[in-house]
Point group: C2
Chain length 369, copies 2
C-alpha cells in the first residue's frame, strides 16, 4: 500500500452547510471520511464516485485499519486495473450513518453525548446528498461516473435520478430500485436481534463496556446467508465437519458452515457499530426510487442524460436479475441509454466483490467509453 503510483489519500471533510434530511430535520457539522485514489485532473472531469455497500466503508484500496484485510475492491481499483487510477480519480466516502469516521449514531451530538438512537433516521438519498455536498467542496461539478454494488448501487441510482447533471454515467451492480418485502424481512430480523440484546440498552451502550455484540453477530449471520448462493454454500462447505471426524451429538459447531457463520458474526462486531447497522438497514428498507418520484420508476430518470450500465448475477437471490430488469425497463421508458447484462457466477450476491472476469470486462468497457 506504499506504492506512490496509487496516490492514495485519506481525509475527512466537515460540510460547511447544514445537511437537509428527507425526514425533515437537518444536521449541522456533518463530517465525511473518505479515501481517494489517483489524481484529479486539471478540469476536474475524471472523478469516479464509488459508493460502498452496507457493511463496507471507504477502504476500497487501502488495507482496513481495524481488520488489516485488503480493501474491499482492491482487485478492481488501482493503476492499470479495471477502474484505472492512472486515468480516474476515485473517491469513496464512508456513508452518512456509518461508523468509520463519517457522522453517524456513534458520533457526538451537540450536548456532548453520542447521538445513539437520537440520531435522525436517514435515507439513501440523504447519504447521497451528503456526498454531493462533498463534491461541491472538491469543486467537482460533474463526475465521470457513479459506481456501486448492492447498497452502493442504490446510491448510484439515487445520485443519477436526483442529481442528473452531476454525472455522465452510472454503473449499478447487483442492486435494486426498491427493497422488497423479503429484503425488509431479513433486515428486520437483524434489527430485532440487536434490539433484543440487553447490552443494546436502547442504543446507549457507548458509555462503556461491550455493546450488543451477540445481537449484532446474529444479525450479521442472518444477513450473510443472503449474500451467498445455496450452491455456493454447498460447494464451499456442504455438510463437511469442522476439525472432527464424526458428529459430536452436541451443540458445538460440528459443521464447517456453522463455524464459518459464527466467525463471520463475531468478527463483524470488531469493526461495526450496532446502531449504525440499525440506521443503514433502515435507510435501505426505506429505499423506493419510484415512490420518491410519484410512483413511476421511469419518471425518476426523466431528467437524466447519463449513460447507464446494469449488472446482475444469476445466483443472486437477494437482489435477483428481475430487479435489474425492472430498472432497465424504466430507463428504456425514460429514453436513457442503458446496457444491461446478467452474468453467470456461482457466488450469489457477493459475486460483485469476487473474481468474475466477465464483470471486469463489462465495467472496463463501460467506464472507458
Amino acid at each position: 500500500m506504499s506504492d506512490p503510483a496509487l496516490n492514495l489519500n485519506h481525509a475527512s471533510q466537515v460540510l460547511s452547510a447544514p445537511l437537509r434530511l428527507d425526514g425533515g430535520q437537518s444536521l449541522d457539522g456533518v463530517c465525511l471520511a473518505y479515501e481517494t485514489c489517483g489524481r484529479l485532473n486539471a478540469d476536474k472531469s475524471n472523478a469516479i464516485l464509488l459508493f460502498h455497500a452496507l457493511t463496507m466503508d471507504q477502504h476500497v484500496v487501502s488495507d482496513h485499519p481495524k481488520t488489516g484485510k485488503p480493501g474491499w475492491w482492491q482487485k478492481s481499483v488501482g493503476p492499470g486495473k479495471v477502474i484505472d487510477t492512472n486515468r480516474f480519480f476515485v473517491i469513496c466516502v464512508n456513508v452518512l450513518g456509518g461508523c468509520m469516521g463519517s457522522t453517524g449514531p456513534a458520533s457526538i451530538a451537540a450536548d456532548g453525548r453520542p447521538w445513539a438512537m437520537r440520531f435522525p433516521v436517514i435515507t439513501i438519498r440523504d447519504m447521497v446528498r451528503a456526498q454531493v455536498a462533498l463534491l461541491d467542496a472538491f469543486g467537482i461539478d460533474q463526475v465521470h461516473a457513479v459506481v456501486g454494488g448492492s447498497m452502493g448501487g442504490m446510491q448510484a441510482l439515487s445520485f443519477a435520478a436526483n442529481w442528473p447533471e452531476r454525472t455522465r454515467a452510472a454503473l449499478v451492480i447487483a442492486s435494486t430500485a426498491r427493497h422488497s418485502a423479503q429484503n425488509i424481512a431479513f433486515h428486520e430480523v437483524g434489527r430485532q436481534a440487536i434490539m433484543a440484546d440487553p447490552k443494546w440498552r436502547g442504543g446507549d451502550y457507548h458509555a462503556g463496556g461491550k455493546g450488543p455484540e451477540n445481537g449484532l453477530a446474529v444479525a450479521r449471520m442472518a444477513a450473510h446467508i443472503t449474500y451467498l448462493s445455496e450452491a455456493g454454500l454447498t460447494d464451499k462447505f456442504g455438510r463437511r465437519l469442522q476439525d472432527r471426524t464424526a458428529k459430536t451429538f452436541g451443540f458445538d459447531a460440528d459443521f464447517q458452515v456453522e463455524s464459518y457463520l459464527r466467525h463471520q458474526g463475531l468478527s463483524f462486531t470488531d469493526r461495526f457499530d450496532a446502531n449504525s447497522y440499525l440506521y443503514i438497514t433502515r435507510a435501505m428498507d426505506y429505499f423506493d426510487l419510484a415512490e420518491e418520484h410519484g410512483g413511476k420508476l421511469a419518471d425518476a430518470f426523466a431528467g437524466s442524460t447519463a449513460r447507464f450500465c446494469l449488472i446482475s448475477f444469476d445466483t443472486d437471490w437477494l437482489y435477483p436479475t428481475a430487479e435489474s430488469r425492472t430498472i432497465a425497463h424504466a430507463l428504456n421508458a425514460a429514453g436513457a441509454p442503458v446496457s444491461f447484462v446478467e452474468l453467470s457466477a456461482p457466488f450469489g450476491h457477493d459475486s460483485f466483490l469476487l473474481d468474475v472476469p466477465a464483470q471486469d470486462r463489462v465495467i472496463a468497457g463501460f467506464l472507458n467509453q
Copy 2:
C-alpha cells in the same frame, strides 16, 4: 371439534422399554403424546402415521390447546377429506424432543429437575424409532402409509428406509433427504439467537421467570422467512405500511411485513419451548439419509417394498424441487415404485399446509390406491 364422526382421541403412552438413541445413550420411560382420528379396523391394517413438521405438534385436527387455532392439517384430515378418517385411522405423535407432552428437554429427568441441555441430542431416526415403539404398543405391524411434510417428510423417509416392512407406502411432501449447508446455516442463526439471550441461562430457564423469549422470537422470525416465497411475501405485504399513511422515520414496524414477522416471533414463544427448538433443529441438521446407509441414498431404500410419492413446490426455496428429484432418482435406482410431482403454488415451503387443490388430488390418489 365435537363431531363424534371424527373419533378424535388424545392420549399419551410411556414406552415400556428404554429407547436406544443414535448418539449411543438410551432413554428410559419415554412418553409420547399423540392424537388419533378415525377408527383402527379389526386387522389393524388401516393406520396412517402422520409426522409433524418442526414447529407443529400432534394437534392435526383438533384446535390447538394453547393458541385455540385449528389443527395444522384440519383441512386435509377428517371424514370425507383428502385423508379420509372414515377409512383411515390417523395417528400423529408429538416428536421426541418436543414440548407438547412427549419427552423432551423440558421433561423432568431422574433427578427431579428438567433435563434442559442434559437431554441427549437426538436424530430424526430417534424420533421415528420412538414412534415405531408406539406402533408396537398399538399392535400395529404395518401401517397403510407414512405421511409427512418438511421435517415430517424426513421422518417418513427415515421410517421407510429403516423399518421397510412396517409400511406399505410413504408420502413425502416438500422435504429432503439431507439438510444442505444453507439449511444448517439458517438453523444455526436461530440457535445462536436463542443461546445469545441471557435468559436462556445455558438452558436452565425452567425454574421460573421468562425463558429466552426474545432469542426464540428472533429464531422464529429468521426461519419464518424461509417458509415463504419472495413472490408470496410481495403479494401479501409488498411495501405496504402498517396502520399509517407515511413512513415514521423511526424504528417502529412501519411496514406490514415487519409487523407480521414480529407477531410471528412473539406468538411462537407462547407455545414453544426454546430448548426443544434447539434439539429439533439439531436433529434436522444431522439428517442425512445417505450417510446413514453407507453414503449412497439408493442403498437406504434397498430393503423397501413400499410405494413412494414425492411432492415438491416450485416456489419452495427451503427444500427445492431438486431435493425431491434426488430422492426420486435414488428410489428409481433402488427399483422402488415412485411417483414424483412438482406442483405450482405461490406460497413457498408452506404450500403443503395451505390450499393447493392439486396437492389434495395427488394425496388422495396415492393413499386411496
